[in-house]
């Protein structure tokens, strides 16, 4: 099974008045056909920018992909012209965003927003495209699709809007769906529904998904492999079970510990476990970071960590970590 997406040493920089922000600083990962890969990290770690860089949707006035490559089905996306890129977007690689209300055009009907995607990439006449739009709305389980086609986004609920976005994204059967925090803005109950829907559709249409989120729960439920990002770099990668069973990078461990847990025993015993936060703050990305980006906040950090950036080292099958002190970390666990 070949990889549908291969990202190698991707680096995206933003040129601001305060200096060059290295939003993505050398990230590599693969996405196999039909696989669900999760990218997890806190806000500002570069996961959204990575996604936008894959589709070359970063704002050209202020940012640029300065290095690395993105290969889709063997083709180097960086080498394509803008016109060629526009044939990939929406057709072979599609994206859904965090805020369904603001991500849908308020003055166009749902039907139009789906159908135009179909017309653009398959050239079928408008009527046929609208029919397809109705099919898609059925697929994403929006009731009364025929009526909804002519409705506007503000007439739909939050969950329905996200379903509509999914409908738009999947309307041309893309091989890759990039989902940037698709459930973050939704109610918890709706979240579950949307995630279930996505998994179901993924099975049906054999779409590979890149699930970008800061929520470990979403990771656990939907992904097969996970990439952990910090300060624009990849710090750990593992199959999902392995990641939860044995988080190896200190940052990953910190993330896991920070998840509030319902510990029934501790409740009864009268001591509720304290929420463990990771001390310190994310480093500013407009100054080059020598050494490990996490070092200032890491309890295991050594001089070497601060001086030299650790390379990614594979510890066991499919599990890679960028850390000098892996041995000590695992011992202390």
């Amino acid at each position: 099974m070949t990889n549908i997406l291969e990202v190698r040493d991707l680096a995206t920089h933003f040129f601001t008045l305060d200096g060059v922000v290295r939003a993505v600083d050398g990230v590599s990962f693969d996405l196999a056909r039909g696989e669900t890969l999760g990218i997890v990290g806190e806000s500002g770690c570069g996961k959204s920018v990575t996604a936008l860089s894959i589709l070359r949707l970063i704002p050209p006035e202020t940012s640029r992909i300065v290095g690395g490559s993105v290969r889709f089905d063997g083709r180097d996306l960086a080498a394509l012209s803008e016109a060629e890129m526009r044939t990939i977007r929406g057709h072979h690689i599609a994206m859904i965003f965090q805020e369904p209300m603001t991500s849908l055009n308020p003055v166009l009907t749902i039907g139009t927003q789906i159908a135009e995607n179909v017309v653009r990439h398959t050239g079928v006449p408008w009527r046929a495209a609208l029919e397809r739009a109705r099919e898609m709305l059925d697929l994403v389980k929006i009731a009364d699709a025929r009526r909804r086609i002519d409705e506007y986004p503000h007439q739909l609920s939050g969950g329905m809007r996200q379903r509509a976005m999914i409908a738009i994204a999947l309307s041309c059967n893309p091989q890759v769906l990039i989902a940037d925090e698709p459930t973050t803005a939704l109610d918890v109950t709706i979240q579950a529904q949307i995630l279930d829907l996505m998994l179901e559709l993924k099975e049906k249409l054999d779409t590979a998904i890149v699930m970008i989120t800061h929520d470990l729960g979403v990771i656990a439920e939907t992904t097969q492999r996970v990439v952990v990002m910090y300060a624009g770099r990849k710090v750990e990668e593992a199959p999902v079970e392995a990641l939860f069973a044995q988080p190896t990078h200190p940052y990953t461990r910190g993330l896991m510990r920070a998840v509030p847990r319902l510990d029934a025993e501790a409740e009864i015993a009268g001591r509720r476990p304290r929420l463990q936060e990771i001390p310190g703050i994310v480093p500013a990305l407009n100054r080059p970071i020598a050494g490990c980006a996490f070092a200032p906040r890491c309890t295991f950090a050594t001089e070497r960590c601060r001086a030299e950036a650790p390379p990614l080292v594979t510890t066991s099958a499919g599990h890679a970590v960028a850390c000098w002190e892996t041995a000590r970390v695992l011992e202390a666990a």
Binding site: M85, R89, H91, T102, L104, P106, E116, R120
Partner: protein, 313 residues
């Protein structure tokens, strides 16, 4: 939808009422004796009394107001002091040139300024945008008559491509009609175009930074479609608003432009009436112009419902 239209229609009534009252009282609150001023410096007492009678100032205020409203309801705008012709007739005679000029300016301004604004937003901070902004800033500063005279100087006097002045009614042929309107329309429309281009650019910039444009781009849609359908339709409301507001600019400017280009329209009528102090005509024109402005704003209001579905429902 019809409910919305009716509501907007009703909302114009109070404004028109205020305008009517205001115009009525304008004459009566002006300092000094309007009849004397209108009659002129060397007028005899008889002449002044005659003017006063003509203006209806010799009767009690409420009676005047009632009479005036009654006449207004019947479309009677009074009678000119100097020519004794009904104001409505005078206005009707001069209507065509002004309407032609205003419409052609509206058309030219919108047709030129909106695309220019869209391009400026699309090419923000690049050369095209900077040129547009410079033009917009200049357009606001240039008074109507300066633009008119500059255009006349370049195109009529030096190049001799277009007529210096005059109006050619459409009955006399389409091309002379258009020829006579080209320079006046541009002169009248300069500030208007600057305003529209500026607002178009600002509105488009605001829209282009929205998430749904990012979504549109992520679908790989053609740039033209993204700009004109996805973006412009959302940017439309402020643009249409300013087109409506700018009509006031046109109406004010018509007076100047018709004077410079010697076009026998309502603007010239206004000037002639003012110089002769033929107040009933001025009063009638104010009502007509105000009504036109209110009507235009009504149309603009109604068009919002078509542009932004959120307003409808």
């Amino acid at each position: 939808m019809t409910a919305y239209i009716l509501r907007r229609l009703l909302a114009t009534l109070p404004v028109m009422a205020v305008v009517a009252v205001f115009v009525f009282f304008l004459l009566r609150i002006a300092p000094g004796d309007p009849a004397a001023i209108i009659a002129g410096e060397d007028a005899t007492q008889e002449a002044i009394n005659a003017v006063r009678a003509k203006l209806g100032l010799d009767r009690p205020v409420l009676e005047q107001f009632a009479l005036w409203l009654w006449r207004l309801a019947q479309g009677d705008l009074g009678v000119s002091i100097f020519s004794n012709l009904p104001v409505t007739r005078l206005i009707a005679q001069r209507l065509e040139p002004t309407v032609a000029l205003t419409l052609s300016t509206l058309f030219v301004a919108v047709a030129l300024a909106i695309p220019v604004g869209v391009v400026a937003a699309w090419q923000v901070r690049k050369l095209a945008d900077r040129l547009v902004m410079i033009f917009a800033v200049l357009g606001f500063a240039v008074p109507g008559f300066l633009a008119a005279y500059v255009l006349i100087y370049i195109f009529s006097v030096q190049l001799q491509w277009l007529p210096v002045q005059g109006y050619r009614p459409i009955a006399g042929g389409l091309w002379p009609f258009i020829e006579g309107l080209i320079l006046p329309s541009i002169a009248l429309g300069v500030t208007y175009m600057a305003l529209i281009a500026r607002i178009t650019r600002a509105s488009m910039l605001e829209v282009l930074s929205q998430d749904y444009i990012r979504t549109a781009n992520s679908k790989g849609l053609a740039t033209r479609r993204v700009l004109l359908l996805h973006a412009l339709k959302n940017a439309a409301v402020p643009i249409v608003t300013v087109i409506g507001i700018g009509i006031a600019l046109l109406i004010s400017g018509v007076v100047i432009t018709e004077t410079v280009f010697n076009i026998p329209g309502l603007g010239r009528l206004t000037v002639d009436a003012v110089l002769k102090r033929d107040y009933p005509i001025v009063q009638g024109l104010i009502l007509v112009f105000a009504a036109a402005k209110v009507l235009v704003n009504l149309v603009i209001d109604i068009s919002y419902a078509f542009l932004d579905p959120r307003i409808r429902y």
